[in-house]
């Protein structure tokens, strides 16, 4: 009985891995690790957008000030959100590790 359960879990894990391998950039993430990876990429993208907007405003004066401020705010908020998600994940992990088996 227990062996059946363990075999079932192993089965789903294998199919998950297979699913992730066949995914391309365009399809929405179906695994959790993919969602996390996309979120990290999004945050990185926003940080780079903010840098670009700052460069535009400061050097050569080719950008609008409000675009730079909005880009900075978006980068800051998305980064702090990711930080909080990371904190919660670690808390959850520690909670699980504390469980008496």
């Amino acid at each position: 009985m227990e062996m059946d359960h363990i075999r079932a879990i192993k089965g789903t894990q294998a199919s998950n891995v297979a699913l992730q391998k066949t995914q391309t950039q365009d399809t929405p993430p179906s695994g959790f690790s993919d969602a996390l990876r996309q979120a990290v990429n999004d945050v990185n993208g926003l940080q780079q957008d903010a840098d670009k907007a700052i460069m535009n405003v400061q050097t050569g004066n080719t950008g609008n000030l409000h675009e730079a401020i909005i880009a900075l705010e978006k980068a800051d908020i998305s980064f702090r959100t990711m930080l909080q998600v990371r904190n919660k994940l670690i808390e959850a992990y520690q909670e699980i590790m504390r469980l008496q088996v």
């Binding site: 004066n61 000030l65 705010e73």
Partner: protein, 138 residues
């Protein structure tokens, strides 16, 4: 930043206008000048000049700074008045005086002053908007 530049050019242009108007008013009775003859009424010609280096292509054509084209002299600058007692009267007693109407010059001065104030208001609005944008994240 473009707005500040445009406002600055407007302020400079209106100030130049004021300078020329006060010069006209001061010289309303001047009959002797370095070039000979009476002082000639002057006016400032302003043109709108496009901004080539603006980054935003959608509005680039609509934005212009104002440039002082030059100071022109009025072609009807001289009026002749009969005044034999004047030191510069000619043989017939006529004096060539500048054709400057004080009332017209005062009206021009008020207009230039109002236009200057309008540019100052535009400058203040720009500054206020910029500062407000900066405190958006606070």
């Amino acid at each position: 930043m473009t707005s500040f530049k445009i406002c600055g050019s407007g302020l400079a242009a209106q100030r130049a206008k004021m300078d020329v108007i006060t010069s006209n008013l001061a010289n309303v009775g001047t009959t002797r000048t370095a070039e000979g003859g009476p002082y000639k009424r002057k006016a400032v010609a302003l043109t709108a000049e496009g901004i080539e280096s603006h980054f935003d292509s959608t509005i680039k054509d609509a934005l212009k700074t104002v440039k002082i084209e030059g100071v022109t002299e009025d072609p009807n600058a001289v009026k002749t008045v009969y005044d034999p007692a004047h030191p510069d009267a000619d043989a017939n007693g006529n004096v060539a005086l500048p054709n400057i109407n004080v009332v017209t010059e005062m009206a021009d001065m008020i207009m230039a002053s109002r236009a200057y104030e309008a540019c100052v208001t535009a400058f203040d609005a720009t500054k206020n908007m910029t500062l407000k944008t900066l405190e958006m994240g606070r």
